[in-house]
């Protein structure tokens, strides 16, 4: 299953929307950097397997809305090893 990583704010461009268009059930989505602005509960995201890097959310004053799971760097690495391929949506 694919791990999608998004680092763009959902308000800045359509990287998140493009990602979700290629998202299939069982895939995982990880929000990092400005991608964490999608973790506030105002955006339509898959119901499970959505993760958000805690440090990036904290740094930006964003609280991660359940069921999105906050993760640290160690969990990020394990997500990368558990999934294949990994697709970056960085622009």
């Amino acid at each position: 299953m694919t791990l999608h990583i998004v680092n763009q704010s959902p308000h800045a461009n359509n990287a998140l929307g493009d990602c979700l268009q290629a998202y299939v059930e069982g895939d995982a989505l990880l929000l990092i950097e400005d991608g964490v602005y999608a973790a506030t509960g105002q955006h339509d995201l898959p119901e499970s397997n959505v993760y958000c890097l805690k440090a990036d959310a904290e740094a930006r004053g964003i609280s991660i809305k359940s069921p999105i799971e906050g993760v640290d760097e160690v969990r990020w690495v394990s997500l990368c090893t558990e999934h294949n391929p990994i697709v970056s949506w960085f622009k």
Binding site: N14, V24, V87, W89
Partner: protein, 121 residues
């Protein structure tokens, strides 16, 4: 050299607004020159790369003309996201690339999941 990992290049951006489309093409040609022939998927604004274009007007090289070389380099099938075309008011019959087989995908996500490595441009 045996092909060890399957590679997909995801072409997601329109041709001339930034360097990504050209970088993607260069990466695909470089892989092919080393006998690691990738598959290519045009998705999102990347489908605009396939339209007839005349960039001499802005002093750029014609990216579509370069893309037409892909079959010569061994990339004989181009994959295109059908929904991305529709979202932009385009239809499959508007897309032609001489010498290449075009496959229009209904489910790009399932296609992406088949690969070992995905390069995003």
């Amino acid at each position: 050299m045996p092909q060890s990992k399957s590679i997909l290049a995801l072409c997601r951006h329109a041709p001339y607004g930034n360097a990504l489309a050209r970088e993607g093409l260069e990466a695909v040609l470089a892989c092919a020159a080393m006998d690691q022939i990738p598959e290519v998927l045009f998705i999102n604004d990347g489908v605009f790369q396939l339209l007839e274009q005349n960039p001499e007007a802005i002093g750029e090289k014609n990216l579509r003309r370069n893309l037409q070389a892909l079959p010569m380099f061994g990339v004989e099938t181009l994959h295109i996201c059908k929904k991305s075309l529709e979202d932009r008011g385009l239809t499959p019959d508007q897309i032609t690339v001489a010498g290449a087989e075009l496959k229009f995908l209904d489910n790009p996500g399932a296609f992406i999941a088949n690969f070992d490595q995905v390069l995003s441009f």
